[in-house]
C-alpha cells in the first residue's frame, strides 16, 4: 500500500472506530485503566484524609519531601507525581488493556461479539508478553522525553528551543508510537511472543507505517491543550484554584482514555485490513 492509500485507510478506520464508541463493552478495558488512574489522582489529591493518610502521607513524604504535605504544594506537584506513576501504570496495566481492547475490536469488526470478562481474562493471561513487548516503546518514550527535557533546560529560548519543543511534543511521541502501534495485534491476534512480535515490527512498518503516523498525529491533537495546561500547574495554582490542577489531571485521564480507545480500535482495523497475513485475520 502506498502512503496515500495507508492514510485513507487510517482515516476510514478512525471513522469506523468512532462509530463503535457507543458500545459499552468496547470501553471495558479503558474504564478499568481509567478507574485505576483516577484512583491514583484521588489518592494523591486527598492524601491528608484519615482514610488514606496512614499510607499516602509517608509515601508522599519519602517521594516528594515534607513540604509536599502542605496545601497547595501537593496539587502543584500533582502533574509530576501522577505523571511518574502513570508511566508505570501505562507500562503494565495499559499494555494489558491494549491487548484486551485489540481482541474486543477485532471480534467486533469481524462481526461477532466477545465476552468482556473472558477477553480481559485472556489479556491478563498474556500479560507478561504484552508488558514485555510494549516495554521498548515505554522505555524509549521515557528516555527520549527526558533527553529533550534536559536539552530544553540548557536552552531557554531561540530557534533551537523551538525545535526541541516541537520534537518533544510532536515528533518523538508520534514516531515512537507509530513504530510500536501494531504490537498489540501481533501479540493478541497473531499469538506471537514478545520477541516474536518485536521481530515482526518491520513487516508492519512496510505495510502500515504511514497509517500509524497519521493516526498518531491526529490522536495527538486532543492531548496538546491538556499537556500545555498541565505544564503550567504553578500558574494555575497561583492565579486560579489549585483544585483545578486535580480536575485537569482527571480530564487528562479521560482524554487519554478516549485517545487510546480510538487508537487501539483504528490500529486493529488497519492491521486487519493491511498488515495481517491472510490466515491470521480478514479485512472486515
Amino acid at each position: 500500500m502506498n502512503p496515500i492509500e495507508q492514510v485513507s485507510l487510517a482515516w476510514l478506520a478512525l471513522g469506523r472506530t468512532l462509530r463503535q464508541a457507543w458500545r459499552p463493552a468496547l470501553w471495558a478495558p479503558w474504564l478499568l485503566l481509567g478507574a485505576v488512574e483516577v484512583g491514583v489522582v484521588v489518592l494523591i489529591w486527598g492524601y491528608a484524609h484519615p482514610a488514606v493518610s496512614w499510607v499516602m502521607a509517608p509515601l508522599l513524604r519519602n517521594w516528594a519531601g515534607e513540604d509536599a504535605l502542605h496545601y497547595p504544594n501537593v496539587l502543584r506537584r500533582l502533574p509530576v507525581l501522577f505523571g511518574g506513576l502513570d508511566l508505570v501504570i501505562g507500562a503494565i496495566l495499559g499494555s494489558i488493556m491494549i491487548g484486551a481492547a485489540t481482541l474486543l475490536f477485532a471480534e467486533r469488526f469481524r462481526g461477532s461479539r466477545a465476552a468482556v470478562g473472558e477477553t480481559l481474562a485472556r489479556a491478563f493471561r498474556r500479560s507478561g508478553t504484552l508488558v514485555l513487548s510494549h516495554l521498548p516503546f515505554n522505555l524509549l518514550l521515557v528516555f527520549m522525553t527526558l533527553g529533550i527535557d534536559r536539552a530544553l533546560g540548557a536552552r531557554r529560548a531561540g530557534l533551537t528551543h523551538g525545535v526541541l519543543v516541537f520534537a518533544g511534543v510532536v515528533v518523538v511521541p508520534v514516531v515512537v508510537q507509530a513504530v510500536f502501534l501494531y504490537v498489540g495485534p501481533l501479540v493478541m491476534l497473531e499469538g506471537r511472543s514478545a520477541l516474536g512480535a518485536l521481530r515482526e515490527l518491520p513487516r508492519t512498518w512496510r505495510r502500515g507505517m504511514w497509517a500509524a503516523l497519521f493516526l498518531g498525529l491526529v490522536m495527538l491533537l486532543p492531548l496538546v491543550p491538556i499537556h500545555f495546561l498541565s505544564g503550567h500547574a504553578e500558574a494555575i495554582a497561583e492565579r486560579g484554584s489549585p483544585e483545578l490542577i486535580g480536575w485537569l489531571a482527571i480530564a487528562e485521564v479521560a482524554v487519554g482514555l478516549l485517545v487510546w480507545f480510538v487508537l487501539s480500535g483504528s490500529a486493529c482495523l488497519v492491521y486487519l485490513g493491511a498488515i495481517a497475513e491472510p490466515e491470521t485475520g480478514s479485512a472486515p
Partner: protein, 500 residues
C-alpha cells in the same frame, strides 16, 4: 480459607472507612486550604485597597474569622496535641486571626485592627510566633491611634512574657526581640528616661542569658545583634562593639555578615573611635562590593571628618563620586556630604557648586531638593536677603520644572515639599503656608501630607496670625486625615483656638 479472606478484606475496608490516619494532618490540610483561599480574597483587595468595595473586605474578614473559629487555639494549641500537625493547625488558625487585624488596617479601621490584634495576642499566647506578631500589631495600631503609653505597655508585656526563640523551628522571634527596644524608644519619647533605661537593662540581661545557651545556633546572630543595639542605646559603646564582634564569630551569621561589619564601623564611630571605624571600613572596602562597599566608604569619610581630617574625607567623597555609577544613591550621598563638609570648613563657593551639581545631575533625588533649600538657607543665615531671594527664585524654577515633567507621585510630593521649604527659607511665610496647604490637599492620606497640613495650620496660627485660616486647616485635618495622632493634635488645636 475463602471466608477468612473475605473477613480480612472487610476488616481492611472498615479500617479505611473509620479513618485510621492522622486526624490532625487532615485538619492542617483543611486549615491551610481555607487560609490560602482567604488570602486570595485579600490579594484581590490589595490590587487597590482604596477602591475595593466593603463587600470584598467583609468577605475576606468572614473567611479568616470562620477559619479561626473552626480551629480554635484552645483545642489545637493545648497540651500534648500542640506538637506536630496539631501545632501547625494552631499556627494557621493564629495567622487567620492576625489577618483579621491586617485586613482592618488595610481598610483604615485602626481601632478595629487593634482589637483584633489584642484578641489574637490573648488567645494565641501558646503559639509564640502568632502571639509575637499579634502583640507587635497591637502596639503598632495603638501608636497609630496616638495611644503611645498603651503601646509602650504592650511592648513591655511582650518583652516580659514572650519567648525570644520559636522552639519549634529554633529561630529567633523578631517581634519579641525588638519589643524591649521599641518599649524603650516609646518611654524615652514620653520623657520617661529612667524607665526606658531599666527596660533596656532588663533586655540586655535577657539577651545575654539567652545567648549563653544558644551560641552556635540559628537564633544566636539575631539575639546578638539586638544585644549590641540595646547596649548602643544605653550608650555603652564598648560593650556594644564587643557584642557586634561576638555576632561576627557566630557560624550561623551567613548573609548578614557585611551588615555586621558595617554596624561595627558605625558603632566605632558612635563610640568616638574613628580610628577603629577606619579599620572596619577598610576591611569592608576590601571584602564587599556594590552598595555595601559604597556605604563603607561613606562611613570612612565620616570617620576622617571625626578625626578633623577634612581633606582625607573630601578625597573619599571624591572617589565615591568618581567610582559610583551616575544617578546612584551613593553618589548623591557623597555629593551632598561633600557639600556640607565644604560649607562647614568655610569653602562656600565650592560647597554651592557641589549642591548645584547634585541638583543638576539628580534633580528628583530628595538630597538634590535638600541641596537647593540648603543654598537659600545659607544666604538667609548669612543675612544676605537679596541673594537668598535670587537663589530661591532660581531653585523654585527648577522645582516647578521638576513638578511639571515628573509623573512619579513620590517625586511630586518631595518637589512640593521642597517648594514650601524654599518659601520658608526665603522668609515668605504666606506663600510657604499656601504651599504646605496645597501639599496637604493633594496627599491627605500620606503621613507627609498630614504633617504639611499641621505645619500650614501652625504657620497660619502663629506665623501669619490668621486665626480663621488656621481653624479651617485644623478642621480639614480633623475631618480628612486618616492618622488618628494628627486628628488628635488638630482637635486639641481647635479647642485651644475656640477658647480664645
Amino acid at each position: 480459607m475463602r471466608r477468612a479472606g473475605q473477613l480480612l478484606i472487610a476488616a481492611a475496608a472498615a479500617l479505611v472507612a473509620a479513618g485510621c490516619g492522622d486526624g490532625a494532618l487532615w485538619a492542617r490540610y483543611r486549615a491551610e486550604r481555607d487560609f490560602w483561599k482567604a488570602c486570595k480574597e485579600v490579594d484581590r483587595i490589595q490590587l487597590n485597597p482604596r477602591l475595593a468595595p466593603d463587600a470584598e473586605y467583609d468577605r475576606a474578614l468572614a473567611a479568616f474569622r470562620r477559619l479561626a473559629e473552626e480551629f480554635p487555639p484552645e483545642r489545637w494549641a493545648a497540651g500534648p496535641r500542640s506538637a506536630g500537625y496539631a501545632g501547625d493547625v494552631a499556627e494557621v488558625s493564629g495567622m487567620a486571626a492576625l489577618a483579621l487585624g491586617q485586613v482592618e488596617e488595610m481598610r483604615g479601621r485602626i481601632d478595629q485592627a487593634e482589637r483584633c490584634y489584642a484578641s489574637a495576642f490573648e488567645r494565641y499566647r501558646g503559639v509564640s510566633t502568632v502571639a509575637a506578631e499579634a502583640a507587635a500589631g497591637q502596639a503598632r495600631s495603638l501608636l497609630r491611634l496616638g495611644r503611645e503609653g498603651e503601646a509602650a505597655a504592650v511592648w513591655m508585656e511582650m518583652a516580659r512574657d514572650l519567648p525570644l526563640v520559636d522552639e519549634k523551628r529554633g529561630l529567633a522571634l523578631e517581634p519579641a526581640l525588638e519589643a524591649p527596644l521599641e518599649a524603650a524608644r516609646a518611654l524615652s519619647g514620653r520623657g520617661q528616661a529612667a524607665a526606658a533605661d531599666s527596660v533596656l537593662d532588663a533586655a540586655v540581661e535577657r539577651y545575654q542569658r539567652e545567648l549563653a545557651s544558644r551560641s552556635g545556633t540559628e537564633a544566636a546572630p539575631p539575639i546578638g545583634m539586638k544585644l549590641a543595639l540595646a547596649l548602643e542605646r544605653r550608650r555603652e559603646f564598648d560593650r556594644s562593639l564587643d557584642a557586634w564582634r561576638r555576632v561576627l564569630r557566630e557560624p550561623a551569621l551567613g548573609a548578614d555578615r557585611p551588615q555586621v561589619v558595617l554596624a561595627l564601623a558605625r558603632g566605632a564611630l558612635e563610640a568616638a573611635r574613628p580610628d577603629t571605624a577606619l579599620v572596619y571600613t577598610a576591611w569592608a572596602g576590601r571584602e564587599f562590593r556594590g552598595p555595601l562597599g559604597a556605604e563603607a566608604r561613606l562611613i570612612r569619610a565620616r570617620a576622617w571628618e571625626s578625626l578633623g581630617m577634612a581633606d582625607s574625607a573630601l578625597v573619599v567623597y571624591e572617589g565615591l563620586v568618581e567610582s559610583e555609577p551616575p544617578g546612584s544613591e551613593a553618589q548623591a550621598q557623597a555629593r551632598f556630604r561633600r557639600g556640607e563638609l565644604l560649607e562647614k570648613i568655610g569653602r562656600w563657593e565650592e560647597a554651592r557648586a557641589e549642591y548645584r551639581g547634585l541638583a543638576a545631575l539628580q534633580p528628583a533625588h530628595e538630597l538634590a531638593l535638600a541641596a537647593l533649600v540648603r543654598i537659600v538657607r545659607h544666604h538667609a543665615d548669612q543675612k544676605e536677603g537679596e541673594l537668598a531671594r535670587i537663589e530661591g527664585r532660581r531653585a523654585l524654577e527648577l522645582v516647578d520644572q521638576l513638578i511639571a515633567t515628573q509623573r512619579d507621585d513620590g517625586v511630586l510630593m518631595r518637589g512640593r515639599r521642597a517648594r514650601a521649604d524654599l518659601w520658608l527659607a526665603m522668609g515668605e511665610a504666606g506663600r510657604a503656608c499656601d504651599a504646605l496647604a496645597d501639599l496637604w490637599r493633594r496627599y491627605p492620606e500620606a503621613p507627609a501630607g498630614a504633617e504639611a497640613g499641621l505645619e500650614a495650620a501652625q504657620l497660619a496660627e502663629s506665623g501669619l496670625g490668621d486665626r480663621k485660616r488656621a481653624m479651617e486647616l485644623y478642621q480639614g485635618l480633623l475631618a480628612g486625615s486618616g492618622e488618628p495622632a494628627t486628628q488628635r493634635q488638630a482637635q486639641a488645636a481647635i479647642e485651644r483656638l475656640s477658647r480664645r
